[in-house]
Amino acid sequence: MTDLIGLTLADARTALLEKRVSSMELTGALLSAMAAARPLNAFVTQTPERALAMAAESDARLARGEARSLEGLPLAIKDLFCTKGVRTTAGSRILENFVPPYESTVTQNLWGAGAVLLGKTNMDEFAMGSSNETSYFGPVANPWRAEGSNQTLVPGGSSGGSASAVAADLCLAATGTDTGGSIRQPAAVTGTVGLKPTYGRCSRWGIIAFASSLDQAGPMTKTVRDAAILLRHMASVDPLDSTSVDIPVPDYEAVVDSGVKGLRIGIPKEYRVDGAPPEIDTLWQKGADWLRAQGAEIVEVSLPFTKYALPAYYIVAPAEASSNLARYDGVRYGHRARDVRDIGELYERSRGEGFGKEVRRRILIGTYVLSAGYYDAYYARAQKVRTLIARDFDAAFTGCDALLTPATPGPAFALGEKTQDPVSMYLNDIFTVTVNMAGLPALSVPAGLTMGGLPLGLQVIGKAFDEAMVLRVGRALELAAQFRAKPKSWWLA
């Protein structure tokens, strides 16, 4: 076993079960890779001691023949999932020293299946961002650089640390969360696989809330099969989240190789946007050709309200965020301002100091659109537009099994390139956000490289709770794309 850190989740699982490697060896190799990759800034908190203790327990279980499904497999966890006794920051100063007294349901499920925690990954503050540049703990670097260039690129966001860690082989797989594209967009620009499940598939309990009607946890992995494996163990119905759905969790891995023969794949014409680089269109066409060659029928579909999804999202998400983030008061937990005169100043200064620029901006937008006299013009209207977006998908899915679209409007961009204009940053989510508005599952699969050598992804969108179909189509794309490229390890220099 020479290249331990490069293993997929599935191959590492086999290697452990066949005793070709121990979890201690695997965990140790990944901890070394993680320690050597500090220039990427992918982790906010590394937990080597806990990792080795968990690995030792896994090795004991493997030796006794009592291995659970993810026994001994080291994972990175986005720092939005509360982990009992391990600092959880949401990428914010306001939670810089927060140590949760409880465990999120998703991570509890993973530890219950035997997985090992390597550390908590960096992210945009409160998951608000598309480049990981809003983190209080500094930006994350994308392991990828354009050919012949030394310029640092962003890894996308908000799950930028998880994407970077998976792409650079610092973990076997990672968790992310996706409110408007925060799993799929970073996956696409780092050459990794990211799956946002149907709203309600994974419990949101213990995940620090951003926009409660949109947030959903999902896997970020090296392969589609790995996403199938991880999702099965992240998903559950949970009495602690009344929006988690009581539908059995299928064995996604068992259907991942079923192929696309006879399936109808929809191409939504509204996803062709002006100003997108021609490479995006070419790759999209290629994706359709790959599926057709494997026996799928390609049909054009129409989602006429697509262009309104992003502006509607930027009313709904900030509105929900302004309400969710009201809990940070400098009293019960989190940053507290010093030398205040009264309780009002305590709240205002603790929040003013504790929240970064983008979070403050979104809270103010949310407060404004919910304030007296504006509610109908903004929030109520956005929720109605959301109905129209959901109806678009319902209509499209009467004639096809899944949809194929580009994942992002372009490859990874440079640090600082889009921080001056919030709307230009928001446009990164133009292809991903519609799915959150309708609650549907969607997968980003690496499908090719730009002329400059940067990864691009394709997105597969499915019907509600049909993650199996999304994974199946994703696997067919993966087979055809044969994406084998890896970033050069410049961070080791």
């Binding site: 020293n97 007294p101 709203y199 309600g200 009495p239 009344s242 929006t243 759905v245 262009k307 309104y308 502006p311 509607a312 930027y314 009313i315 302004s322 008061d329 400098g330 009293v331 019960r332 937990y333 989190g334 507290r336 205040v340 005169r341 009264d342 309780i343 009002g344 100043e345 709240y347 205002e348 929040r351 003013g352 100091e353 929240f355 403050r360 901006r361 809270i363 103010l364 937008i365 407060t367 404004y368 304030s371 504006y374 013009a377 109520a380 209207r381 956005a382 929720q383 109605k384 537009v385 959301r386 109905t387 129209l388 959901a390 204009d421 919030p422 709307v423 508005m437 309708a438 609650g439």
Partner: protein
């Protein structure tokens, strides 16, 4: 609809977020950029459309009304910046 300085200060007050003086004018510009951009929603005819309140067709679940957790004041207050005998300490609010 566009916002002015006064509106931004009022909204910041409602949100209990202190804005440094030199952040107020940039915030006015940023909010107007965003609000100007979402203005395109006004062109959608939503007269006969109900707002979407849940993306998943599911009835809200009921649970038994019973205590399932709690009774650990030390754990609950462990993250508080200032605590005395398991009470949160705040500046005086009643004279």
């Amino acid at each position: 609809m566009s916002v002015d300085r006064e509106t931004v200060l009022r909204v910041a007050r409602l949100a209990r977020i202190a804005l440094e003086e030199d952040r107020v004018d940039p915030m006015v510009t940023e909010l107007n950029t965003i609000l100007g951009w979402v203005e395109q929603l006004q062109e959608v005819d939503v007269r006969e459309v109900a707002p979407l309140t849940s993306v998943v067709a599911q009835r809200l679940k009921m649970r038994d009304d019973e205590v399932t957790a709690g009774g650990d004041a030390a754990a609950v207050t462990a993250n508080a910046p200032l605590v005395e005998d398991h009470f949160y300490v705040v500046p005086k609010v009643v004279e």
